[in-house]
């Protein structure tokens, strides 16, 4: 099933922070992981991903460095301490929203 852009809106930062919290990744790897972990639901466009990554880096949530592996240089991103705080804040918000939506939608079915 394809994702609804309106539903995805605002959650991508959370997804990126969560993804990078487990291990440093480069951009292409992030897209693949998100698609794989969400069973094909999330397919973030490259044109949206890189500006967002750079902005989060600029804000101090992420830090990037070039790593050479197998003759290829890639730019790996990792979450900073500030980014972890942001992740915790966004997770809390998301859980609150998710719970509220569930409460309302399940009540409507009752």
């Amino acid at each position: 099933m394809r994702s609804d852009p309106q539903l995805v809106k605002g959650t991508v930062r959370l997804l990126i922070l969560k993804l990078l919290d487990s291990e440093p990744m480069y951009g292409y790897q992030m897209i693949q992981h998100l698609e794989h972990r969400s069973e094909g639901y999330f397919r973030i466009g490259e044109g949206a991903l890189y500006p967002l990554l750079h902005e989060m880096e600029h804000q101090g949530f992420l830090r990037a460095r070039w790593v050479e592996q197998g003759g290829r240089r890639r730019r790996y991103y990792r979450v900073t301490a500030k980014g972890r705080k942001e992740l915790a804040r966004r997770l809390q918000q998301w859980r609150g929203l998710s719970r509220a939506v569930t409460l309302v939608t399940e009540a409507s079915h009752a």
Partner: protein
């Protein structure tokens, strides 16, 4: 592989960030494109299709370059310096133009005498015409230095020129319309007309500029800088023609209020930091007021220094305005563009 390079070159051409950072961004995108194309080829796609498909994922190069530039803080440390320098040139050019006119060099005196003999135009009209002629070339001159943001430096002098044309138009209308006495005096009509014509015009420009920031951040910069630039210049113009203390206090107070309220109102729309915006405007006006009071009793040598400080103060005000509008631009652009990456998901 050639297509990658064409595409990346198109991005780099529109990427207004410092050179080293620009190269780093392009290198990062290149590794992504190469990996994506390789995966597509492994999945059975032919080489050309794989390249096309990989490039398609990134979208329009101009849009991507703009988003990347915004995400990377615009032009970086070099850009604002160049912008500030170009504004400085524009301001200096305007100041020289005014000084030439007010100093009434021999050429202008001859023109004035010729005009008076023909009873066609009054000396002040010619003074304004001379200002327009001198101000207008300042725009491209400053623009040359400003590089890609030539329009940013060019806008204030051009708006100033348009405003002066407005004054001339008002003077022509005056001959056929019953305007109030303050608009008819020759001692300070241009300053007064400036307030009444340029004020609303610039407020509208600023408003439209900041409103447009949601879509086009650069328009906000022009609007914000233009407003404060000409409010500051209007203040200078007013203060140079009024010599009594009460008049100085009243004008500085009103001008300070305009700058402060305008800045505060613009940020109040976004719900934050409006007090912080109001304070620089008030502070600058208080400094100008103090300097002008000091200039009343100063001798000629001291006045040179006082005017120098006045110019520096106004340049500081421009810097504050530029910084403010850049901050607003970045914040408003983020709220509408990069917070919505899901659009391409």
């Amino acid at each position: 592989m050639r297509d990658f390079e064409d595409y990346l070159a198109a991005i780099q051409a529109h990427l207004s960030v410092p050179g080293r950072r620009s190269q780093e961004i392009v290198a990062e995108l290149r590794t992504h494109l190469q990996a994506r194309a390789a995966d597509l080829r492994n999945a059975g796609m032919d080489s050309g299709q794989a390249v096309d498909e990989a490039v398609r994922g990134f979208g329009d190069p101009t849009t991507l370059a703009r988003r990347l530039a915004e995400a990377n803080g615009g032009q970086g440390p070099v850009g604002p310096l160049r912008t500030l320098l170009s504004l400085l040139i524009a301001f200096a050019g305007l100041f020289i133009a005014f000084s030439l006119v007010e100093g009434e060099p021999e050429l202008l005196q001859r023109i004035d005498r010729a005009a008076a003999a023909r009873s066609f135009l009054r000396p002040h009209d010619l003074g304004i015409l001379a200002m327009i002629l001198l101000c207008t070339p300042v725009a491209p001159l400053a623009g040359l230095l400003a590089g890609r943001r030539w329009w940013l430096a060019a806008t204030p002098p051009v708006v100033w020129g348009i405003t002066l044309w407005g004054v001339i138009l008002a003077e022509l209308i005056r001959k056929g319309l019953p305007l109030p006495k303050w608009a008819l005096t020759t001692e300070g009509p241009y300053s007064l007309m400036l307030v009444f014509i340029a004020g609303p015009l610039l407020a509208a420009l600023g408003w439209v500029g900041f409103r447009a920031a949601a879509r086009r951040g650069q328009a906000a910069t022009v609007g914000g800088v233009g407003v404060i630039y000409l409010v500051g210049f209007g203040l200078l113009s007013l203060l140079r023609q009024v010599h009594d203390l009460v008049g100085l206090l009243a004008i500085a107070g009103v001008a300070g209020l305009i700058v402060a309220v305008l800045g505060a109102a613009l940020l109040w729309q976004k719900g934050d930091r409006w007090r912080r915006t109001a304070l620089p405007g008030l502070g600058v006006c208080l400094v100008l007021l103090a300097l002008m009071i000091a200039s009343i009793t100063a001798d000629a040598d001291q006045k040179v220094w006082i005017w120098l400080v006045v110019i520096l103060t106004e340049m500081a005000m421009l810097a504050v305005a530029a910084g403010l509008s850049r901050t607003l631009t970045a914040r408003m652009s983020r709220s509408t563009s990069t917070q919505d990456p899901g659009e391409q998901s």
